[in-house]
């Protein structure tokens, strides 16, 4: 006898056990008793299309046991909307659940559905704070960042502290690529609507300065290097303007002083566009292939062949 079969509230339900099993050994599933009992009640109420407060309790119980079962979440949403339940209460319950099951995918989609339905009634600042709490546990959680982007767009938070938020996250960890990506989104996410991002010279210079300061903290950090390159590409401005930055961390003439393979990589692109710079670019590629990033030697060799230069010279040493 189980929790539901002994509860008078559920006595009208004939639980539906799983129809898996039978002669096929691949299909037979042995459930733990509690979970199976609860699932059998869910199957029964779903078969009868019952949408009631007790079904909400049932789904809550099941989600606690197994938050990855997407059918349970979907039926819960259906039930909530049918009953016009208090969605603020639902969010409070979700807060606890999300903190317990951080990698779960369904929780975030469910949250998005609820917050979207709340619309202007939603405490947006509360949402921002909750997301920040999630990042205290895992600052690179992909679902949470996606949700944060959705919040920014849905509630037009572009200029409501988001840039400062990325700064706070990057102060904590300058290597957090998710935070760099979010910054790009906040700065450039409205280009299609005519709000300029890095195509505006002032914003462009501000962002390059920001990335330069981050590079100074940790030169061998891929994210800000990608960021400055992305700015040049998106704004159609010359890569050559980044030469002083690249030379601060890499030199072909003094290979022993290279502090960043990403700077050396950038230097290759800048040098190869200069008249007479190809040989220097080739030397930089030799350095990358032999000393600073040898695991990708085939890639560096390809880059060298693209410049019409020969194969990698192993004599180059730092």
């Amino acid at each position: 006898m189980g929790k539901y079969s002994e509860d008078p509230k559920w006595s009208d339900i004939d639980p539906l056990p799983t129809d898996e099993g039978g002669p096929n050994p691949l299909a037979a599933i042995a459930y733990a008793e509690d979970y199976e009992e609860t699932m059998s009640y869910l199957r029964a109420v779903m078969a009868a299309n019952e949408l009631s407060p007790r079904v909400l309790e049932l789904t809550e119980d099941l989600i606690d046991m197994n938050p990855a079962h997407y059918t349970v979440w979907l039926y819960r949403s259906k039930c909530l909307f049918h009953l016009h339940s208090d969605l603020h209460e639902e969010l409070e319950w979700l807060n606890e659940t999300a903190l317990q099951h951080q990698k779960n995918y369904q929780i975030w989609h469910h949250r998005l559905t609820i917050v979207d339905a709340l619309g202007e009634e939603c405490d947006v600042q509360g949402e921002q704070e909750f997301v920040a709490r999630m990042f205290e546990k895992d600052a690179k959680n992909y679902h949470v960042w996606s949700y944060r982007q959705w919040l920014v767009k849905r509630f037009q938070l572009w200029e409501k502290g988001e840039l400062e938020f990325t700064e706070k996250m990057l102060e904590e960890d300058v290597r957090n690529n998710s935070a760099w990506n979010h910054r790009w989104y906040v700065v450039n996410g409205r280009e299609a609507e005519g709000v300029k991002g890095v195509t505006d010279p002032e914003i462009r210079e501000r962002e390059i300065k920001y990335a330069e300061a981050a590079i100074a903290k940790a030169p061998q950090n891929q994210s800000p290097w990608n960021y400055v390159r992305g700015i040049r590409k998106a704004s159609g401005t010359e890569l050559a303007a980044l030469k002083p930055l690249a030379e601060r961390y890499a030199s072909v003439e003094r290979p022993g002083t290279v502090r960043s393979s990403f700077a050396l990589d950038l230097l290759v692109d800048i040098l190869s566009e200069e008249s007479g710079g190809k040989q220097q670019a080739g030397k930089a590629l030799d350095l990358l292939a032999t000393t600073y990033d040898p695991i990708r030697k085939n890639y560096w060799a390809y880059r060298k062949s693209q410049l019409g230069l020969g194969s990698i010279e192993t004599a180059a040493t730092a």
Binding site: T18, D19, E20, N24, P25, L26, A27, A28, I29, A30, Y31, A32, Y35, E36, R43, M65, N66, A68, H69, Y70, T71, L74, S77, H109, T113, K140, Y142, W145, S146, Q149, R175, N176, N177, S178, N181, H182, W184, Y185, N188, G189, N221, Q222, S223, N226, Y227, R229, G230, I231, K233, A234, I295, R296, K297, N298, Y299, Y302
Partner: protein, 348 residues
């Protein structure tokens, strides 16, 4: 078929890889066969939502290992058919709602075991019905929802395209019929997911992620637009980002500054193979990394050396080794994650 982790652990590497460390093919086959006998464990039914996925992963690994008949064909057909919903879609397990991902896995399984004849007896004109189920999930902006609730993910879009392709229902496979889906809208959405670093995220603006690169590149590849969209320059940029995923251990990560994981050896490498840049990574080091993730005694592979093995990492490890040209493995198709000799029969 279970996703339940363990019982074994990936090999704990100490110093150099011993020369005798080889892919333990027979152990992996036995491991996959054993998964279905572990139903008394709690984890088995907590992973019910992945059951049809588990079968696809296990079956694909067996095909690539050269043991396509190691699971009983009748049992597989019965199970897949028991996941069929009235809508023409498949759920993850019997009684689960139809979902585009599990419909994709089901079609992959049926293709590998030549099971559409059996399905036809149950559901006349089955291929068209499944195709219509998939097509019905396309949204006006070109994306695909996973289920009736409208969650959007580039995985769903990719799944929709490869499923239709395996069924022979993509517009260019049936030029004389009205198209079931708006393919240009679908690929336009994928292109909007490309980021400033040259790679792709889960939605426009979302961070680049190797898994999403695989789904986006795969979708463009199946739609026949990969070469024209990226061009050589775009392939170089994306290839550079993908090759930067390799760390000194030889393993690949999914995003900058994240840990290596065997499943990324598949997502990164398959993308690099589709854009013709696979030779940019250090194959010997990656091969050694994957082999270190196997349990040499009980079979199965883990995400990284020392962790618990599971069928998900086993298939992506084996498929990765296949792309690396590991001797004795069946060649894998990088877009479909199925044996090349089977996908070669699709009209493209």
């Amino acid at each position: 078929m279970s996703l339940a982790a363990g019982p074994g652990r990936g090999h704990v590497a100490v110093g150099q890889l011993p020369e005798e460390l080889k892919l333990v093919v027979d152990k992996h086959v036995a491991y996959i066969q054993s998964l279905d006998t572990r139903k008394d464990e709690l984890e088995y039914h907590l992973t019910e939502h992945l059951r049809i996925g588990g079968i696809y992963w296990g079956l694909t690994a067996l095909h690539l290992l050269g043991h396509p008949d190691a699971l009983p064909r009748e049992g597989l057909i019965d199970y897949v058919l028991s996941c069929l919903c009235e809508s023409g879609g498949f759920g993850a397990a019997p009684g689960h709602d139809a979902h585009i991902l599990y419909t994709g896995y089901s079609v992959q399984i049926l293709t590998m075991i030549d099971g559409f004849g059996a399905l036809e007896e149950r559901l006349p004109d089955c291929k068209q019905k499944i195709a219509r189920f998939v097509a019905s999930h396309q949204q006006p902006d070109g994306t695909f929802a996973g289920d009736e609730w409208g969650e959007i993910d580039t995985r769903f879009l990719f799944s929709a395209l490869y499923t239709l392709s395996l069924l022979g229902y993509l517009p260019h496979q049936r030029p004389s019929e009205p198209p079931l889906i708006n393919l240009p809208a679908a690929t336009a959405y994928i292109k909007a997911c490309q980021n400033f670093d040259g790679a792709f995220g889960v939605s426009p603006g979302a961070e680049s992620h190797s898994g999403q690169v695989f789904t986006c590149v795969g979708a463009l590849y199946i739609a026949g637009e990969l070469d024209s969209y990226l061009g050589e320059e775009g392939k170089d940029r994306l290839g550079a980002w993908l090759s930067e995923r390799q760390l000194p251990s030889g393993g690949l990560n999914g995003r900058p500054e994240k840990l290596v994981d065997v499943c990324y050896s598949w997502w990164v490498m398959s993308s690099m193979a589709m854009i013709g840049r696979l030779h940019w990574i250090d194959k010997a080091k990656l091969t050694a990394f994957i082999l270190q993730c196997q349990d040499p005694d009980e079979g199965g592979m883990a995400d990284r050396p020392g962790d618990m093995v599971d069928v998900f990492h086993t298939v992506f490890g084996v498929a990765g080794l296949s792309l690396l040209g590991y001797p004795g493995l069946v060649e894998v198709d990088p877009a479909y994650c199925m044996p090349r000799h089977i996908t070669a029969q699709i009209s493209k």
